[in-house]
């Protein structure tokens, strides 16, 4: 088992005929993901990925014709929020938005549409999710490099991209596999929070430990810690928080990574996580060791 993505995933890629969409879709297929449709307005009727995948004009056409249940959005920032709303309205229940730089007010509105239609959004500005399977295959939606994964039972959730890869690579190198690796994105307004992810992992029978990779800005780590303290005591859990050295008042790359006054600081997040029973690493490379120390043993 896994969360969000897995063998049941039937993926529609919005922006499949674009450069990025096409490149990553090919990677997803190579890893084993079932891509059932692409959407590019005005190019309905074409086929993509070596003629293997039909392209539709609209997500509703794609859903009706192929039963797609998950979407991955590579649409440019100006149209990405609209693409999210389109997917939600078309009945797609799990929507990944990879696009970076979406205006924040667009996201407020898109998130309202997502809630209205009972869908779930992951991202935007996120790397997606991978549920590794056997024989170097599995299901991946988004842009996480397939090569870093090992199938296993540790759930990974992170606000970051390459930092996640770093952490996952160190786990894989240590022989610790993952149930699902999920990047929730670094923007101030995102569809799925740390807490939401922990709730999903908590009900996933295949997940036996948690790795949480946070960063400065906002209070999502604190919120997740509070929830974990009350609900996650049965799982070994470790964390890493990026940005201890970040100065106050500056956005550190991610639109959401900013310390404002005394809010959003790394030390407070670390304290909250430790109080909630997380072992917090000083470097991502320490995560495998801390997992073992927290009581996790690889099967």
């Amino acid at each position: 088992m896994s969360i969000l993505v897995g063998p049941e995933t039937r993926l529609v890629v919005q922006g499949l005929t674009g450069r990025e969409g096409g490149f990553h879709a090919a990677q997803m297929v190579a890893y084993g993901t079932k891509i059932v449709a692409g959407v590019t307005p005005g190019r309905g009727g074409e086929r993509a990925l070596d003629e293997s995948v039909p392209v539709y004009d609209t997500v509703s056409d794609a859903v009706r014709e192929t039963g797609a249940n998950t979407s991955c959005i590579f649409v440019p920032a100006a149209g990405a929020a609209d693409a999210i709303a389109e997917a939600a309205e078309a009945g797609v229940k799990t929507i990944f938005c990879i696009t970076e730089g979406i205006p924040v007010h667009d996201m407020v509105r898109a998130l309202a549409s997502v809630r209205e239609y009972g869908a779930r959004l992951i991202g935007p500005n996120c790397p997606g999710a991978t549920s590794p399977g056997a024989n170097g295959r599995g299901t991946k939606v988004g842009i996480i490099p397939a090569s870093i994964h090992l199938p296993g039972d540790v759930g990974v959730v992170s606000r970051s991209g390459t930092l996640t890869y770093e952490a996952v690579q160190s786990m894989t190198d240590a022989g610790i596999g993952q149930s699902t690796c999920l990047g929730i994105g670094g923007d101030p307004i995102i569809g799925t929070t740390f807490r939401d992810a922990l709730e999903l992992f908590a009900t996933d029978t295949a997940t036996r430990a948690i790795v949480l990779i946070g960063e400065i800005g906002g209070a999502a780590e604190e919120e997740a810690a509070a929830w974990a303290a009350a609900n996650l005591s049965h799982l070994p859990r470790v964390a890493f928080i990026a940005g201890r050295a970040a100065p106050e008042g500056r956005r550190m790359g991610h639109a959401g990574a900013i310390v404002s006054g005394a809010s959003g600081r790394a030390i407070d997040k670390i304290a909250a996580l430790e109080a909630a029973g997380f072992k917090v690493a000083g470097s991502p490379t320490e995560l495998p060791r801390l997992l073992i120390e927290a009581g996790y043993s690889p099967r």
């Binding site: 205006p103 924040v104 407020v108 991209g161 930092l163 307004i189 960063e215 990026a242």
Partner: protein, 390 residues
Amino acid sequence: MKIHEAEARELLSRFGLPVPDGATATTPAAARAAAERLFAAGATQVVIKAQVLVGGRGKAGGVKLAASAAEAESVAAAILALTIKDLPVRRVLIAPAAEITREIYLSALIDRASRGILVMASAAGGMEIEEVAAKDPTAIVREMAHPQAGLLPFQARRLGLHIGLRGELLRQFAAIATGLVRIAREADADLVEVNPLAVVPAPEIPGGERLVCLDAKVTLDDSALDRHPDFSAWRDEESEDPIDREAREMGISYIRLDGSIGCMVNGAGLAMTTLDLVTRAGGTPANFLDIGGGARADKVAAAMRIILADAGVKAILVNIFGGITRGDEVAKGLIEARAQQERVVPMVVRIVGTNATEAATLLKAAAFETATSLDEAAEKAVALAAGGAK
């Protein structure tokens, strides 16, 4: 993008909110002329305010009153000579001094916790809202705007009622609160703050009082500036460092810090982590720099120029986890950049992930110092910075 008070006032005006008369000046003479016009229009005093993008300008002497045009000129001269928190004052705003009966706080901002537009009001205007929140959290009333419809009239009214407004002032307040949210939505602002929103005497209207936006703070969403081409004129390019501008124009996320180790990383989270590990290893980072996903050789070269423009940089740490970004592209960019650079600084390069093997071959041929793990890379960089060239 933060904009100056003067531009924030203009934005509020465009949306029909009540903003008092005023003008900006970059010279004392121009300030005098502006003051003369305001006195002629009936002002009994004018206020002269430094236009700098930091808080606390009042305490720094950046806000002063003047009772005559001559005084306005000398006050403006004094303020234009100030440097507030490292920022030279290049411009002042001159406005009629208002006779304030009461000060209110009102703002609309993107709230990440509730994932929407939060509107806050307080009867304790004039103070910073953080101060109010610390002293008496109950003094702040809040409404979440409707994500699709904005602040609904009853919500705006409820805010006003809860800070004690009635009748005509309540009506005006509700219109201003709704307007703030409209500005946030239509101008793509992360923050629109009016503080103080002042009650001033207005014998000419029923109720005898009215509300004016005496000071305004607006932060625009950088991601949405493309669709507001008219706002680009509001960017304070004079106060912007040329290096910061180059980074912005290249799509590189760069923040200069005080240390000695220049960092070039792909991904914001990994870049922050790199800074943390440099610090943990006993070094001091000279900058945050994220070259973004899929960077090519030219971007890598630009990043190198930006890092080296900082004279404090004694060593450079390049940390790339190839995903979309191809390691060999980065290696090529580094080799090119080194060939062109004027200043020789020791460097340690760590490239893993996509095409790491090809990158290693290239780097080895070019005799770069490399590292495998993140921690090792940080430690090597710190040693290089401490020991000078290898």
